[in-house]
Amino acid sequence: MAERATSFQYATLTQQRETATLGMWAFLSTEVLFFGALIAAYINYRIWFGAEFIAAASMTKVALGTANTAILLTSSACMASAVWSNEAGSRRGAVWWLVATAALGVAFVGVKFFEYSLEYGERLVPAVNFDSTRYSGATEIFFTFYFCATLLHALHLLIGVGLVGWLIHRIGRRGVDDGPATRLIGLYWHFVDIVWIFLFPLIYLAGRNG
């Protein structure tokens, strides 16, 4: 992404940095519509099926979901600290905060897959072992959405972990990053976090307001 020297198409380093930042924002707007489409479809069925969907939503593991929310929010705080350390010129601080960020990201995915294993045990995984004698059709659709949304989110998170790993390697070898890369990856990380902030109430809390 970011070269240390100005790429030939830019006049100044500032211009290059601003350009990269705008590029990331444009990319995130694409991502908003990507997840937005899924969430819109989900809400459509939430209204369409009503009570049946809420019943299905109450089968999710809210404790694990809440734990994961906490993990992800903490990871975002770590990411912000990493950006701050990097800008303050602290190579050690940046690296360690990034390590913490990546570790929390991995922990999130670990919890998520533990959750999947519980759902597998309850025969709630559509197309794999869904038990349609026990659960209604609306439940199957709910869990189809659940797996699509959380798997796509986990995929985004793993890409984020990869990027953070790359950044750790880079800062560790070359010293603090004076280009836009750290900020951009930070932006991406926060975005993935925000997606979860929307998914969490929609999936876990929908059926639990009474």
Binding site: F49, G50, A51, E52
Partner: protein, 315 residues
């Protein structure tokens, strides 16, 4: 081969109204494109680079022109939108006592079921001058019931009822098409709508036999599928009695109220837990995937026949 058909037949008053709107649009389109083409050619000739036409005019009237043509387009467009919408709303308001015919689309045929029990495939016989309401269902994919001579078309989405209505006022045979792509023989999913005068229609109904009315066939199915076990008095499980229900408001367990029309009856058979009548336990099993659209139509016709008005389907 030698003849050039320009304009489709119009077999209903509604069709003529659509034609009038279409004709008006044609006039507007002709005038607008005429103006555009004229100016294009006129300027192209007058201001060709070799001409020494006067070019001293000022071009500072930009705003006045811009606002002028923006407003003009907007006003014309809004007028057209209202006109088109007004006619369209008409299609959503079927008259109350129309002759009701069930039509089921499946790959690749249209099956019609008349209230008297007469059935036909890729043909639809209707009386002239009488309101006809079609209740459309699809057994598999999306089809679209299209009669060009009546200027009406309705997509038939599987899993739900769609309705359309018309009043043909000209005796004749008119094309019936499927207008939504539905697979291999999409182009052959069609036939004819035959509009007949009242006597010929009566004769046709008789000739077709129809040993039992649709509602009577529905009553048999009502027993065969075991509906009567609960929904008739003396049943072992407490379930709503269905006499007099059709067309009346039904309070639901979630507090809302629906009108028990053909769509509600059908949905209640296939997905009983979605809209449970207030005061009853959601114990009815689903019949999704077990009853074909043909049979559903009969059941609906039966429920309708025991409705408060006796049901138009019973006539």
């Amino acid at each position: 081969m030698a003849s050039f058909p320009w304009w489709p037949q119009a077999a209903s008053g509604y069709a003529s109204e659509v034609d009038f709107l279409f004709g008006s649009l044609l006039v507007i389109a002709a005038l607008t494109s005429g103006l555009v083409f004229f100016l294009l050619l006129f300027f192209a000739n007058k201001y060709r680079h070799t001409s020494n036409a006067d070019r001293s005019g000022t071009t500072k009237k930009t705003w006045r022109w811009e606002i002028g043509w923006t407003t003009a387009s907007l006003l014309i467009f809004v007028g057209l939108a209202v006109w088109g919408a007004n006619l369209y709303v008409h299609l959503y308001n079927p008259p109350p006592d129309a002759l009701q015919i069930f039509v089921v689309g499946k790959q690749w045929m249209w099956k019609a079921e008349h209230p008297g029990g007469q059935r036909e495939i890729n043909e639809l016989h209707v009386p002239v001058g009488q309101d006809v309401r079609l209740v459309l269902a699809s057994q598999d994919v999306i089809h679209s019931f299209y009669v060009p001579a009546l200027r009406i078309k309705q997509d038939v989405v599987p899993g739900r009822y769609e309705t359309m209505w018309f009043q043909a006022d000209k005796v004749g045979r008119y094309h019936l098409f499927c207008a939504e792509y539905c697979g291999t023989d999409h182009a052959h999913m069609g036939g004819w709508v035959t509009v007949m005068d009242a006597r010929a229609y009566g004769d046709w109904l008789k000739a077709q036999g129809g040993e039992m009315t649709l509602a009577d066939q529905g009553q048999q199915l009502f027993r065969r599928y075991g509906c009567s076990g609960c929904h008739e008095s003396g049943g072992t499980v407490r379930a709503p009695q269905l006499e007099g229900v059709f067309g009346s408001p039904v309070p639901l367990s979630n507090g809302s109220v629906v009108i028990a029309d053909d769509k509600y009856i059908r949905d209640s058979i296939l997905d009983p837990k979605a809209q449970v009548a207030a005061g009853y336990a959601p114990v009815m099993p689903t019949f999704a995937g077990q009853i074909s659209e043909d049979d559903l139509a009969k059941l609906v016709a039966y429920i309708e026949s025991i409705g408060p008005s006796g049901g138009r389907a019973a006539r």
